[in-house]
């Protein structure tokens, strides 16, 4: 154990730590996901990223995603850590782990979590590239948007 199940942190992320945090004697499968900073995005040569968060709300949004997953996959334990601050190429921006008695649920919960992170967690990516910088803007965050939630579930459970 050790690592909390959710965190917004300036510290480097560890997939191993999350895997350990969700594992238990009844868990036969742990699916995990790590998002890494890529050196290219839409034709731009990226130098680094800076992630900004509305931290208290981001923490609550991560906890909400874990609750949503627990309701859908009751025997699955989910952990999500998101990093903020400056990240260089190859560093992990998000790490997710889902442990379950069976692998289908572990994969589904893990995939669901990353889709929901992108939908409802108040974190913003400021991309710095050769020649400029740009704020990446994805989804209008609305946790009560059931259509968005259904899309995440459909991707996860396909």
């Amino acid at each position: 154990m050790g690592a909390p199940l959710t965190a917004v942190t300036t510290m480097p992320l560890s997939a191993e730590g999350l895997v350990a945090a969700v594992s238990s004697r009844g868990a036969g499968a742990v699916a995990s996901f790590v998002g890494l900073v890529r050196d290219r995005n839409q034709g731009r040569q990226v130098t680094h990223l800076v992630y900004e968060a509305y931290e208290p709300l981001a923490e609550k949004a991560l906890a909400r995603i874990c609750e949503e997953a627990a309701a859908r996959w009751p025997k699955t334990v989910l952990a999500i850590h998101h990093r903020v601050g400056r990240l260089d190429i190859g560093e992990a921006s998000v790490a997710i782990a889902a442990a379950s008695p069976h692998r289908a649920d572990a994969f589904a919960a893990c995939r669901y979590a990353i889709e929901r992170v992108k939908q409802i967690v108040p974190i913003w990516k400021h991309e710095f590239f050769d020649g400029g910088d740009v704020w990446i803007e994805g989804a209008t965050a609305d946790p009560d948007d059931e259509a968005a939630r259904e899309r995440a579930l459909a991707i996860a459970c396909a």
Partner: protein
Amino acid sequence: MRVTVRLFARLRELAGAAEFVREVPPGATAADVWKGLVRDHPALAPYEASLSCAVNAEYARMTTSVADGDEVAFLPPVSGG
């Protein structure tokens, strides 16, 4: 009454500050707070269609009423992950 407005990411840059204390009339909604802000910072206007808001670090609707001392946050589309 007074509320503390918090802005993030591009909104913060366009308005030139992360935090504002603003005077609003009793019974004001989050939308009223936003409209007042846009009057002073017209560059924010294009975000109206894609905005989220939160009151006291809980997601809220633009129709939510705010109270004296509340923290009202306006959030451009998110891009975590």
